[in-house]
């Protein structure tokens, strides 16, 4: 029996307030949320329906010039230099008057992610905790995505497709863990898209994936797809081979290498494939693979509900494909969220962290707050679900 009210709200209030800090990759996010204190949370699995109120959700993304990825050192510098300003902005927007009185818990991303950026945020989190005398909770980034997605969409027990710059996983809940049913055997989908974008000098603002999506829409040769390798292995997939293949095409396209038979007509020298076409083909191919492994996991665990989370999850084409797949399954339904919650943010860390806090799982020694670059989704004991 799950009791989400194990720890009562501070100062006899009828609600909880949590501050969430996220900085595991190139986004720095701070959010403040509120959970009403509800009697029916004392029994039963209602962790997907906390009645969350988002008091603020501020994000700042470290942007690099076209053709460049984000390096840990510069990303950490961005987070360090913006962190306090963003926290302040989030507190003001949330109308927090006295953090020490108003905030029940400070939640931070413990991992997985890039070490230096994670560390720069945890320094601020620890300082706030000691300064305001508010307890800390370390959150698994992936669990943050899942909990935020569940709360926003109210999807009770979905198969989760988690797709971002560093992750590609198909997850389903079972016996107090988010278990990984399928995942990439090499690189993540976002990484694959980002690196492709770099070769073609597609801008990183607001994100390479978003720009690929916009370019793909403009493809004028949608009827003739550039065929790419399709590498689904059971519920797993592999993308490094696809990247290598499409990257050669991208390079030849960027340089105008007329010898490439896929891109240029060998007789007339005419260009057959545009940047837009290549973006379209890559998306169609990669997303078909994602939808397929998701459907495989659904068939395996006998579920008909999907939740898409992670930065790549706000791609409308991916959502549309997933929706079509679900429609063809019995009463299937796809849930997704928009960029406010899909892309890394502080609110999701607050949501998962507050659930953890309400179950009594808090940091008792600052040594527990050391960040973990590698922190698998299934390592977390999910105490807040049946």
């Amino acid at each position: 029996m799950v009791n989400l009210n194990k720890i009562p709200p501070k100062n006899g209030r009828k609600y909880y307030v949590a501050l969430g800090l996220e900085g595991s990759a190139n986004k720095l996010g701070v959010g403040v949320i509120k959970h009403p204190f509800l009697e029916n949370h004392e029994s039963g699995d209602l962790s997907h329906d906390c009645g969350v109120e988002i008091l603020s959700n501020i994000r700042d993304t470290y942007i690099t010039p076209p053709g460049e990825g984000f390096l840990p050192r510069d990303t950490a510098r961005h987070h360090r230099n913006w962190c306090v300003r963003i926290i302040k902005k989030a507190l003001i927007e949330a109308q927090i008057k006295d953090p020490g009185l108003d905030i029940d818990v400070i939640c931070f991303t413990k991992g997985p992610g890039m070490g230096a950026p994670l560390h720069s945020v945890v320094i601020a989190a620890r300082t706030c905790s000691l300064l305001w005398e508010v307890p800390l909770v370390g959150v698994n980034h992936c669990v943050g995505h899942i909990e935020m997605g569940r709360e926003i969409t109210k999807a009770e027990n979905p198969v989760v497709l988690y797709v971002s710059g560093g992750n590609t996983q198909v997850i389903a809940y079972s016996e107090n863990r988010y278990r990984i049913f399928g995942e990439t055997l090499d690189i993540a989908i976002g990484n694959c898209l980002d690196r492709f974008a770099r070769t073609l000098r597609i801008p990183n603002n607001p994100s390479p994936g978003y720009n690929i999506e916009q370019l793909a829409k403009k493809s004028t040769h949608k009827d003739s797809l550039v065929l790419l390798p399709y590498t689904v292995k059971g519920m797993d997939l592999s993308m490094s081979g696809i990247l290598a293949y499409v990257d050669i095409l991208a390079k030849d396209l960027f340089r105008g290498n007329k010898k490439n038979k896929v891109l240029f007509d060998q007789k007339t020298g005419e260009q057959k494939v545009t940047v837009e076409d290549l973006c379209y083909s890559l998306q169609e191919n990669l997303f078909a693979m994602l939808v397929e492994i998701t459907e495989r996991a659904m068939a395996h665990v006998n579920s008909n509900v999907v939740l898409i989370v992670g930065g790549v999850g706000c791609n409308v084409r991916l959502q549309e494909m997933m929706g079509t797949m679900c429609r063809d399954r019995a009463d299937g339904k796809v849930h997704a969220t928009d960029d406010r919650f899909c892309i890394d943010n502080g609110v999701m860390i607050a949501q998962a962290g507050l659930l953890q806090y309400r179950m009594g799982d808090i940091v008792t020694d600052l040594n527990e707050t050391v960040v973990q670059q590698k922190f698998r989704t299934d390592e977390v004991y999910v105490s807040w679900r049946e």
Binding site: R85, P99, L131
Partner: protein, 85 residues
């Protein structure tokens, strides 16, 4: 013992002993990436934060010291901006 290069007594005078103590507590938990090449210890003495570094060479010392100072700057800014929010 690798004590070849050291930066002793990096001394940071905070406003209060509580601030200095918070800074030391915040910095202490993180393990060094290469403990065989670089060592740090933190303590608060009154309102001062005192940090001692030891390293096998100047390169490792430079990276390590600068990272710690970066963190201290974050701590100072956090306290400065959020103490009496």
């Amino acid at each position: 013992m690798f004590k070849k290069q050291s930066l002793e007594k990096l001394n940071i005078p905070f406003e209060t002993s509580k601030q200095a103590s918070i800074a030391a507590q915040v910095l202490k938990p993180d393990p060094q990436l290469r403990p065989e090449e670089f060592k740090v210890d933190y303590s608060s003495q009154g309102s001062d934060l005192v940090v001692n570094f030891q390293s096998v060479d100047d390169r490792v010392l430079r990276v390590g010291v600068s990272n710690v100072i970066d963190s201290i700057k974050t701590i100072i800014e956090t306290i400065d901006e959020l103490q009496d929010f």
